[in-house]
């Protein structure tokens, strides 16, 4: 079993095994999907109803988290985001399981105790709305990664064996080396890959004139095949990405998105959003996202012109389903909900930082935005994360463990 099972389940299983065929009953904890070495997912969609947990999803999330802790052999202290009720509920559930299965969680204690920090996405609704420009993120954003698989069937003129490809850093060197690089670098890297491949290719395809040639061919063939598979895969994926970027005018869209996320110039932002809403190349999805970003950032701005933008969306023929998202996202991640301030710097250091940044100019307009998570983790590592915002759960019992 990949998670904790109840004793009564074991009993009923045992009683049903009249033929005595069961040889082992073990729990190995792996009740989650490890996407990357540092990322896992439970593959859940929509775990909350309104601002409350869907009970089934809460228990599933608790199971997944505890399985993760067990497989990592960590019995952590738990902190959660005070502003989020679901975060607190989850923290309590996890703690409950740890208390119940205390024998399982009896791991060797480390000097710095591990920490489970539970955050609520609603605290930073901005980041997921932005277009990304690193390889894996782009693929995920534009094509969708599902258990390392990418569905390319909608790519125009796709060949049969590339309908669905696997992108896994485990056995794809190119991907492993490039998954976190940005799009421009990938472009040049894929060019190198192609050239490398071309250099090898003529060798493979020349006439087999001597025994040695043939021998070499047979020896190199599997490797060649693997390489040609890698090349065609990445060329297709990157090709499709750049096609989508051009088709959806994503560079321009992204620039405005970044401006909405990082800068505080309302009039320029509004102007740019309006301009893009007029652009027929911008998809309705991207248009709505722009308006959502605007709504989140300038929610309380004195000259907020959200209604005007909404009208423009409607005039553009954006479906109501999408238009509803704007108010939904404000409800979900608006100022009222947020525990931390997304847009305006809080302290002097941060203000100076932003000022300096403004002076230096931005290195890459498409990657200005730093997700809130980065700051949170930074503070956590420096020990500056405020207890008032991220309290410990049951400070005494757990910290004593």
């Amino acid at each position: 079993f990949s998670n904790v099972i109840s004793k009564s389940d074991v009993k009923s299983l045992a009683e049903a095994d009249e033929q005595e065929v069961v040889a082992e009953v073990q729990e190995f904890y792996g009740d989650y999907i490890a996407v990357n070495p540092h990322v896992f997912s439970l593959n859940l969609l929509g775990c909350c109803q309104g601002r409350n947990w869907d009970p089934a999803q809460l228990s599933r999330t608790t199971q997944g988290l505890t399985a993760l802790l067990l497989s990592l052999k960590k019995c952590p202290m738990i902190r959660y985001q005070l502003s989020s009720e679901p975060a607190k509920r989850l923290a309590e559930c996890v703690k409950q399981v740890i208390t119940k299965e205390y024998e399982l969680f009896d791991f060797r204690r480390t000097e710095v105790p591990p920490l489970l920090l539970i955050l609520d996405r609603s605290d930073d609704a901005i980041t997921p709305l932005l277009n990304q420009w690193t390889y894996q993120a782009m693929v995920h954003e534009l094509l969708g990664i599902n258990n390392n698989r990418i569905d390319l069937s909608r790519v125009p003129g796709i060949s049969k064996d590339l309908r669905e490809v696997v992108l896994s850093a485990e056995n794809d060197e190119f991907y492993a080396n490039n998954m976190y690089l940005n799009f421009a670098e990938i472009g040049s890297n894929i060019k190198n890959l192609m050239e490398d491949f071309q250099r090898r290719k003529p060798k493979e395809q020349q006439k087999l004139e001597s025994i040695a040639d043939m021998k070499a061919f047979v020896e190199n063939y599997p490797q060649f095949k693997k390489m040609s598979g890698t090349v065609s895969k990445h060329v297709t994926v990157v090709g499709e990405l750049s096609r989508l970027v051009a088709e959806r005018n994503l560079l321009e869209v992204s620039e405005v998105e970044q401006e909405l996320a990082c800068q505080n110039d309302h009039s320029s932002a509004l102007q740019n959003v309006r301009r893009l809403l007029q652009n027929p190349k911008v998809t309705e999805f991207d248009a709505v996202r722009l308006v959502m970003l605007y709504a989140l950032h300038y929610e309380r701005h004195s000259s907020n012109s959200l209604p005007g933008l909404m009208t423009e969306l409607r005039n553009r023929g954006v479906s109501e389903k999408y238009r509803k998202l704007v108010s939904a996202v404000v409800e979900y991640g608006g100022k009222r909900v947020r525990g931390s301030d997304l847009f305006s710097p809080k302290d002097a250091v941060a203000i100076t930082k932003q000022f300096l940044k403004g002076l230096k100019g931005v290195e890459n307009v498409y990657t200005q935005h730093q997700p809130l998570l980065q700051e949170t983790l930074d503070q956590l590592i420096k020990g500056k994360l405020k207890d008032s915002q991220y309290p410990y759960l049951g400070p005494n019992t757990l910290r004593d463990r």
């Binding site: 904790v4 009249e18 005595e20 009953v25 073990q26 052999k73 060197e173 025994i211």
Partner: protein, 788 residues
């Protein structure tokens, strides 16, 4: 865990020292720490340098230059690789996660349940046995009733007003019936009957089981286990039979259920599904002497590695294993593959023609078995390298022996050189007054000598002792021993690979040295020979009459002596020479081990001895024959050495060097025998021809007077018996054979690729591959034509 593989260009995480492919960076690190930390850093660096230098030199010489760049490129990439901000390699090694076993709990519950069930069943069966132990047919029903009542206490009628199963009220119409097995009450509708046949089946099965139940630790329900299949046929009949009430025993639904379940168990024990019969490898089923799929696979798993070891060794020309045995093993393994293929096909088609088609899941299971068997065969069969043919093997053995000997030769040459030098001086002083016809060549030789190889030899001797390669080889040999002692097989393999590479490298070096040295040696010997000849001429003239009076048979037996004298004898007595030559060649053909060391060792020594005591040759020759057979080099042949590994660049390199060596030798000979050039060329060119027809010359002894004259000279003899050259000649034909083998192998490989490509539907690849296959087949046909 770590997941990217930055070092991988082709083979993954290569250890920079031993080039072993590790699966991940972490493994590589631990491998590095485990394997190489004990080595001195300097030696390591030195070694690395050496190997790389040697490789570079070789590439310049023999290979395309591109490899070097890719190699270094891979290393740079490996070092400079960064993980885009996330560096999982910095993380601590992840332990295996927590786990928990529920087995003891599970077993406890299961045992309790089964115990309960077994007790219940046994109770029923014992009662059933008692109920059927008397002759029911010939006993009055009242009496039966009494017996039944005495065996099982019946529940009293008053206590049960309603049928417990259907809830109907008992009345005069709806009468009570007692279960004869548990005594409970039910109505007629709910009553079940157990036929006597079923009863006897159940009870006899139990009795047998009790009889055979000797093992105390068998599972609880094996108490009533049975192994015989004779009863199962009865049960099918029993349900159909319409018997009298006396032949059946009334019982309640629950007891009947329990009994039926029991019967099913008995049946299942007897029945083995067809698919299991074909698949299973369990020892109980193997007694049918039918091959089982799993069993075949296990055998292959056992035998294939053994075979591969053998084939590798044989292909390297080692004599550790017997070629025939390897061939047998190969045939055996191939037979197993055929079995696997046939069996899996059979499994695949099981039940396909039956009318109610098997369950889709059954079919899926069958398909998957077939698929896994196909994969198994593909994977293992492709790894099964071919064996050399007998001739090839001889060839390989020779080549290997040759390699080893060349290495040894260097040592020997170094040792004997000093002596020779002195003796040579002696000769020179003795023969200064003789007029030499080939003065210029002699001069050339001396000039070369004066260039001096003596310092070189001392240097090379020193460098040999200090050779880091040798040190490294020693190191690794001891590592292997340690690893073997520690039973770490994969490490042993890895180290052996390492050792092999080093040895190749070392052999390579030694070969080069040997070439140089033997060139020099040849020059000197040549010089000696000429001096010798002059001396001999003189002596011969003295001995001539004596010699001629000897019986010619002595001469032909003692071909060596004849050889030396033939030089002159031939002119006068061609008959005798031809006979001697005949014998000479035959003997050489018949005794390959003789020729190799003899020619190498002979020249210097023999001439020396010969001049000193020309008459005692026969005895002397025999001795030499023996030494040749006892030659220590033959033992050397067992040391592990270069295998004919296609991936091993060193193995391929040897042959050009060897042939280079040959030409070097020959060109030397040409120098001192200008008048024989033509003849020699002919011999060189026709070498394979003449080896395949050793008696051709003998058929026409008079047609080739020059040839026989040649053979009178031990050095010219060298040109035809020279192991290098013979090998060279054979190599031509051997290569063809190898190529053919290779072609066949490749055709197999490509077929597999095509299969694979077809399987995954890459039609364009299939096309390319088919094209290749055709090409290969054409070449094969051509090759065959050529060879026939």
């Amino acid at each position: 865990g770590p997941f990217g593989d930055p070092g991988e260009v082709r083979e993954g995480f290569l250890c920079p020292l031993c080039l072993k492919d590790l699966q991940s960076l972490r493994q590589l690190q631990s491998h590095y720490e485990e394997e190489h930390s004990s080595e001195d850093r300097d030696v390591k660096g030195q070694l690395k340098n050496l190997v790389q230098k040697a490789k570079r030199a070789k590439k310049k010489l023999l290979k395309r230059e591109g490899d070097d760049r890719t190699d270094s490129g891979s290393q740079e990439r490996y070092e400079s690789f960064s993980y885009g901000g996330v560096d999982p390699y910095m993380w601590e090694p992840q332990e295996v996660g927590a786990m928990r076993s529920h087995l003891s709990d599970f077993k406890k519950h299961r045992a309790a349940r089964i115990d309960h069930y077994v007790v219940e069943v046994n109770k029923l069966i014992i009662r059933l046995e008692k109920l059927t132990s008397f002759d029911r047919a010939n006993t009055e029903s009242a009496k039966i009733r009494a017996i039944e009542k005495s065996l099982v206490p019946w529940v009293s009628d008053q206590d049960v007003p309603f049928c417990p199963d259907c809830g109907n009220k008992f009345s005069i119409r709806n009468r009570r019936h007692h279960c004869r097995l548990c005594g409970s009450i039910m109505c007629k509708k709910c009553m079940e009957l157990v036929s006597l046949l079923l009863a006897s089946k159940l009870t006899s099965a139990s009795k047998e089981a009790l009889g055979s139940h000797t093992s105390p630790n068998s599972s609880p329900n094996s108490v009533h286990g049975s192994r015989r299949g004779s009863i199962s046929s009865i049960s099918s009949v029993s349900s159909v039979l319409d018997e009298k009430d006396e032949d059946r025993i009334r019982c309640c639904r629950h007891c009947k259920d329990t009994l039926l379940k029991r019967e099913q168990q008995i049946d299942e024990r007897e029945y083995t599904p067809e698919i299991v019969k074909l698949y299973e490898a369990s020892p109980t089923l193997c007694c049918f002497h039918l091959p089982k799929l799993r069993l075949c696979m296990e055998k292959v798993d056992q035998k294939a590695p053994e075979y591969i070891r053998m084939a590798e060794s044989l292909n390297a020309g080692e004599t550790t294993y017997n070629l025939e045995r390897a061939n047998d093993l190969r045939v055996e393994i191939q037979k197993l593959y055929e079995f696997i293929d046939a069996l899996s096909k059979k499994i695949l088609s099981l039940g396909l023609h039956e009318n109610p088609q098997p369950h889709p899941k059954t079919l899926q299971l069958q398909r998957m078995i077939r698929y896994s068997a196909t994969l198994f065969v593909q994977e293992k069969l492709l790894g099964l390298m071919s064996l050399p043919t007998k001739d090839q093997y001889e060839e390989l053995k020779k080549r290997r022996l040759h390699m080893v000997r060349q290495v040894k030769l260097v040592h020997m040459a170094l040792e004997t050189h000093g002596k020779q030098e002195e003796k040579q001086k002696d000769f020179i002083s003795r023969s200064t007054d003789t007029v030499n016809g080939d003065a210029t060549h002699l001069k050339k030789g001396t000039v070369r000598k004066s260039e001096g190889w003596l310092p070189t030899s001392s240097i090379s001797r020193e460098s040999e002792i200090a050779d880091p390669l040798l040190q490294q080889i020693d190191n690794i040999t001891s590592f292997i021993k340690q690893a073997k002692a520690a039973n770490r097989i994969d490490e042993v393999h890895m180290l052996q690979e390492n050792l092999r590479q080093l040895q190749d490298e070392y052999d390579q070096q030694q070969t080069l040295k040997a070439i140089e040295l033997s060139k020099k040696q040849a020059e000197e010997e040549e010089m000696q020979r000429e001096e010798l000849q002059v001396l001999r001429e003189k002596e011969w003239e003295r001995e001539h009459h004596k010699l001629m009076s000897q019986h010619s048979r002595t001469c032909s037996l003692d071909f060596r002596e004849v050889k030396h004298h033939q030089h002159e004898v031939a002119k006068e007595d061609r008959n005798l020479t031809a006979g001697a030559l005949d014998l000479d060649i035959t003997q050489i053909k018949g005794d390959p081990s003789f020729e190799t060391p003899a020619v190498e060792q002979l020249p210097a020594k023999e001439h020396l001895i010969f001049t000193l005591k020309p008459q005692s040759v026969p005895q002397h020759d025999k001795d030499k024959d023996q030494t040749a057979c006892l030659n220590p080099f033959e033992d050397e042949a067992d040391t592990p050495q270069s295998e004919e590994d296609p991936g091993n660049p060193f193995a391929k390199d040897t042959s050009p060097v060897v042939s280079f060596y040959n030409t070097a030798l020959q060109s030397d000979k040409k120098e001192y025998n200008p008048f024989e050039n033509e003849e020699e060329d002919e011999q060189t060119n026709g070498a394979p021809h003449s080896t395949s027809n050793p008696f051709e010359e003998d058929e026409n002894p008079f047609q080739k007077p020059l040839g026989s004259w040649n053979s009178g000279n031990p050095f010219e003899e060298g040109s035809s018996t020279n192991p290098f050259e013979v090998e060279d000649g054979n190599e031509v034909s051997g290569e063809e054979a190898i190529e053919e083998e290779l072609l066949l192998q490749q055709i197999d490989n490509i077929k597999a690729y095509i299969f694979d490509a077809k399987h995954s539907g890459r039609m364009d690849e299939v096309e390319v591959l088919t094209e290749n296959l055709k090409e290969l087949k054409r070449t094969l046909a051509k090759q065959k034509e050529k060879s026939t």
